[in-house]
């Protein structure tokens, strides 16, 4: 399993660097301070990084029939899928830690800082669940079929804010207030524990699925 991780680490590292550069760029543009924009973009990046890493890597595996190759080696399905889940977990934790550390370094209003931490953590955990679902989907449905469903889902997701605004009269301000309200009482440790448990469950399910 270690060998698979080593081999996939390059892909993950590449995506990691690109996203990190992007976030740094945004930071410099916003005058190196904790603004609402930087926090939101940071959170969004944490949320999407695992999924992007998976999609890039899985596309490579799909193109090369990588799983046929791995299946011919002395590896079990548990190890092959395990390597993916571990990799994504590592990427996610590392990136969230980096960003939270970075924000702390920049510093700012303590209230906003702790709020940003909670928000980033929340995005990281959300990203993890999302990643677990994506892996489950890819292994269960096959890469191509999953991607079609996934993209359709995202197009649909784009309509949600419009729907909220038009039908329920909920605008960006209301959403922000809602988020801030939720974040202030955020219990990091229980939330992380629950998410890790769900993530482990998704891994188990995926490992069982990848059998004909």
């Amino acid at each position: 399993m270690w060998l698979i991780l080593k081999n996939t680490a390059k892909t993950a590292g590449g995506v990691f660097l690109m996203v990190a550069l992007f976030v740094t760029g945004i930071f410099i543009l916003s005058g190196i301070s904790l603004t609402k924009t930087t926090i939101i973009i940071g959170g969004m990046m944490i949320f999407t990084l695992p999924v992007v890493t998976i999609i890039i890597r899985e596309q490579y595996e799909e193109k090369n029939k990588g799983y046929d190759f791995l299946a011919s080696l002395p590896l079990t399905r548990l190890e092959i899928t395990g390597a993916r889940f571990v990799l994504i977990l590592a990427v996610d934790v590392l990136f969230a830690a980096c960003l939270i550390g970075f924000f702390s370094l920049v510093g700012g209003d303590p209230g906003r800082l702790s709020l940003s931490r909670a928000f980033l953590l929340c995005c990281g955990l959300g990203g993890l669940i999302m990643a677990g679902l994506v892996l489950l989907g890819i292994f269960g449905l096959g890469y191509t079929r999953f991607l079609i469903i996934f993209l359709t889902f995202f197009v649909f997701l784009g309509f949600v804010p419009m729907l909220l605004l038009k039908v329920f009269d909920i605008g960006p301000k209301e959403i922000a207030a809602f988020v801030i309200d939720k974040m202030t009482g955020f219990q990091a440790i229980p939330a992380a524990a629950v998410v890790l448990l769900v993530y482990a469950g998704l891994f188990r399910l995926t490992a069982c699925l990848k059998m004909e």
Partner: protein
């Protein structure tokens, strides 16, 4: 040491929507070579993949090197040299990289042997996988499978697309592995000539069932092509022939019990009314497929 078979299948079953694989029993002793012959879609690849735990069986007992593929997948893959139907590698990586990567997964890896096989198969180490032809990829897969000191080789169509010269070389390599190192081989191929050169035992798979599995020498002794003049054979004998054909001056058919009928043929052969010929495995397969169809 106990002489445990390297492969044993009992009541193996795999159900698909439109196809059912159902092998009553199949066995392979250590040091022998089993050739698997059958039309496309007969279940050869499914069988092989079940042995490697790439497909889950629906029922029955499977033992590979005495191990259960479901439970001991890793150990089986360590000790089996496997070449799949369409070998897959990472296209952007070089041959060298692939060799190093694969070697990391095996307990025993013989680097010298691998290098020697690459030379022998004329595969250049610095080439990227995507620059290799289909045949080259098969050769690379063979080199990898032969380099980790496997006890048992499971090869699914390893000679398809290879030219006759390389094919002969591969066959000689496998023969040496079996004769000199007591290693066992399960090989499926559409090129029946290769099977008849290599195998000790041959199993014919038709529509998911093993319709014939015997030692090659027994098959050769019992299966013959008979050319005969009209009226030279009695009704029962004629009726028992497969693939009966009428030619301009004679008739022909294939028998599967020549040893039993030998006496009946003796006189007409002397009279020149019957001619007995050896038959190719191709002809036997075609006869078996026809037989299967006429039974429904």
């Amino acid at each position: 040491m106990e002489t445990q078979p390297v492969l044993s299948l009992q009541h193996l079953e795999k159900k698909y929507r439109e196809f059912r694989l159902n092998i009553e029993s199949l066995c392979l002793e250590r040091g022998s070579i089993l050739g698997l012959i059958g039309p496309n879609g007969a279940g050869k690849t499914t069988t092989v993949k079940i042995l490697m735990n790439m497909i889950r069986r629906s029922g029955g007992e499977v033992r590979v090197l005495g191990l259960n593929p479901r439970k001991d997948e890793k150990e089986i893959k360590q000790r089996v040299g496997y070449v799949g139907e369409e070998p897959a590698f990472y296209g952007d990586k070089t041959v060298d990289w692939t060799g190093k990567y694969v070697s990391g997964f095996f307990r025993k890896w013989d680097t010298n042997r691998f290098q020697e096989l690459l030379d022998r198969f004329a595969i250049s180490r610095s080439k990227k996988i995507q620059e290799l032809s289909k045949g080259m990829k098969v050769k690379l897969a063979l080199a990898l499978a032969l380099s980790h000191d496997a006890e048992f080789y499971i090869l699914d169509e390893p000679t398809a697309g290879l030219d006759p010269i390389i094919r002969r070389e591969v066959l000689e390599l496998l023969l040496a592995e079996s004769r000199e190192h007591e290693r066992s081989v399960l090989i499926s191929s559409h090129i029946t000539d290769d099977i008849s050169r290599l195998a000790d035992r041959i199993a014919f798979l038709v529509e998911g069932r093993v319709v014939l599995s015997r030692l090659k020498d027994d098959i050769n002794a019992d299966w013959k092509k008979i050319h005969y003049k009209r009226g030279a054979l009695d009704k029962d004998t004629t009726a028992s022939l497969f693939s009966r054909k009428e030619h301009a001056f004679s008739l022909s058919g294939i028998t599967n019990k020549f040893q039993e009928l030998k006496q009946k043929f003796e006189k007409p052969v002397l009279d020149g009314d019957v001619k007995v010929e050896n038959v190719d495995l191709d002809d036997i397969l075609i006869a078996l497929v026809e037989g299967e169809k006429s039974c429904g």
